[in-house]
Symmetry: C2
Subunit: 406 residues, 2 copies
């Protein structure tokens, strides 16, 4: 079996932890697997480097040169990749470490947030066939011009997934400090269970829940390249969660998980003039300010006028209000509510089961929770409710869909 393992910053946070990682790698190697290991910088290292760079950013000079930033940012991974090689060699194993560039990771030249354009796997493939454990610095690649680039947030996960895809690896294991993906946040519902298998699409919809584990960017790439992704802890031997394509999951649960997002605010615009294109103009103006609109509900109001409700990140409320002032002539009232939460149930089984939504609404009614907005996709139902009722709602949903039962 060919596996790609990725270890994050806390997993390689000091030399003792790097030794632990070496032992995990050795376990796989002794099992007979070919192993490629992707490592992040030691935890705290990247923040330190960012701090250094910020001290050279002052007013009137806001755009530091990405090329130089990437040289600084990529240095942390260079240290850990070579240290892990030394750790493996000291145990008598054949190991070699590569920079992103040496590993053949080719990106565009958008420094500090480059996109992977392709991977030339010939060097890794030949090292693997010579029996080497191959360690690769995560988070980095090189442009066609040979300049070092970094991949932005979650970049090391992305390196691992992209390498697994290019090498047609059987498995890509992402090691972090949590055990995997849970049916809901165990701090809210202690009876939350770890999910054994979940589809890419469900994982993407559970983003707010899964963000601590995996960024959507990596899941999307795994889906595209059809990479079997496992997220698990580097601090124990527990099985993690397998994120894979729907076909690989024999028994689809109707609902896989309950997600909670407390970072949304609701904007309600009442009595909008019935003039074609007003809504489009509003969303275009918000988009120009990089404000990400999530749920949108439009209803016919009185006298042919319409009401428009939508949610945006709480952090963008002030900017959004500024934008909406421009349209003041076209609407009646504007309301902004930051005391809301979005509760979602996610499950591919919804596609083929009826009655999922009604079960959900009746659970809310039973708990006396008022639903302000509803949004649905093929595999998700989201509800906007009062933030004070959010945890109660999560527990009720977790129970009604029997997520605490094996």
């Amino acid at each position: 079996m060919l596996i790609v393992q990725k270890y994050g910053g806390t997993s390689v946070g000091d030399c003792q932890r790097i030794k632990n990682v070496a032992n995990k790698v050795i376990t796989a190697k002794n099992r007979g697997d070919q192993v490629v290991v992707v490592v992040s910088a030691m935890s705290g290292e990247t923040d330190k480097l960012v701090g250094f760079m910020q001290s050279f950013c002052h007013e009137g000079y806001t755009i530091p040169d990405g090329r130089e930033c990437d040289v600084v940012l990529s240095s942390g991974e260079q240290v850990t990749r070579a240290l892990l090689a030394l750790a493996l060699q000291s145990q008598g194993y054949k190991a070699i470490s590569l920079s992103g560039q040496e590993a053949g990771i080719i990106t565009d030249n958008m420094h500090t947030r480059a996109r992977i354009e392709g991977i030339n796997t010939s060097k890794i493939a030949s090292l693997l066939s010579e029996g080497y454990i191959v360690i690769v610095a995560g988070f980095q690649g090189a442009s066609l011009e040979g300049e070092i680039t970094t991949l932005g947030r979650g970049g090391s996960d992305l390196s691992a997934v992209a390498l697994a895809g290019a090498l047609r690896a059987d498995l890509c294991e992402i090691y972090t400090d949590v055990d995997g993906v849970y049916t809901t946040d165990p701090r809210i519902e202690p009876r939350a269970r770890k999910i054994e298998k979940i589809s890419y699409d469900e994982m993407l919809e559970l983003a707010s829940m899964g963000a601590k584990v995996l960024l959507n960017r990596s899941v999307e790439m795994a889906k595209k390249l059809n990479v079997n992704l496992v997220t698990r802890s580097s601090f124990n031997n527990n099985e993690g969660t397998l994120i894979t394509s729907e076909e690989n999951i024999m028994e689809q649960p109707i609902v896989s998980g309950v997600a909670l997002d407390r970072n949304q605010a609701r904007i309600s615009i009442g009595d909008i003039e019935d003039q074609p294109g007003i809504a489009a103009q509003i969303f275009e103006s918000l988009s120009e300010k990089d404000i990400n609109v999530d749920m949108i509900v439009q209803t016919i109001g009185r006298d042919g006028k319409t009401d428009l409700d939508f949610t945006i990140p709480k952090t963008e409320v002030i900017v959004a209000q500024e934008v909406l002032k421009k349209f003041a002539d076209f609407y009646g009232e504007l309301e902004c509510d930051c005391e809301i939460a979005k509760v979602s149930i996610v499950g591919v089984g919804m596609k083929s089961h009826s009655g999922v939504a009604s079960l959900c609404f009746s659970a809310m009614a039973k708990e006396n929770i008022n639903i302000m907005m509803i949004g649905t996709s093929e595999i998700k139902i989201s509800m906007i409710i009062e933030i004070t009722r959010a945890e109660k709602a999560v527990r009720a949903l977790h129970k009604i869909y029997k997520l605490d039962e094996k």
Copy 2:
């Protein structure tokens, strides 16, 4: 003018200091010079990295893979070179930073102690002609196979000197935390003066004095490539010391400086059998153990037997005694004295002046200091004396050669 400036670890020890370095570079640039800057890692960084690596060295595994070590060791310079570029850019200057490899520094493949084999200056030259300040990571290069290498102790100075030579720079400035080379250690003789100009050969002979400023390796390369070397402080604007070829120094002082070395031990072997080749065998055996013999004096003793005195580093005494045991049949007595010091006067003017030595011996006599051994070269006189009299000797010599006078 084209100048190469090199800043050591304490000079780039934190972001404020990197800003100071940027200001020094800007001063040169504003003067109209073309500037290439070589930087070390932030002070303490390399030690930290070495510490990391050592934690993977255990008994039974003593030779870590140099290739991986060099990846770790070279990372510190990568950070500072890019940070200095950002600092210069934030002041509105065109600056770009290069790795050793990008700068065209080609080495052999002796990892962790590579030798520079050549420099391809085309990239730096073209960047300079485009008006860039070019910053280069010191201490590193790359082998012909493209692997990162490091140059060993004093490697950043060496990078700077080699670049200055290859670029035919007018000047190579080595910035440290001391003002330059002094006529003697100012902690011993407060009237010690900073030397304005000194020849390569004198600098090499003053090694024990200059070690804190420059390693012989860099001075030797400067001599070979005919590089005008200046050593000065990055913490003030004082003029430093120019190290150059003899022809460039108009007025040669008879004695340029007084050096003191307290790290030597004296071995005296008495009554050696008068058998050809014994001395050669002794020194060969010591050399096999990497013991560096400094001064050697052989005298005819009684009955045609000879006495052999020599000095070695104090740290090697135990190993040396072990080696000498093998020859016990061939000599009478063995004495080992660690309570000695070597005091030397150095000056190219000696070549053409007589009476230099006699002045020196009479000064010692006047102070009642017993000279145990004497060694001379064309431009140096060294004396082995009791360690307790060492500082007194230095002050006496400093005075008798009028080194405290301008």
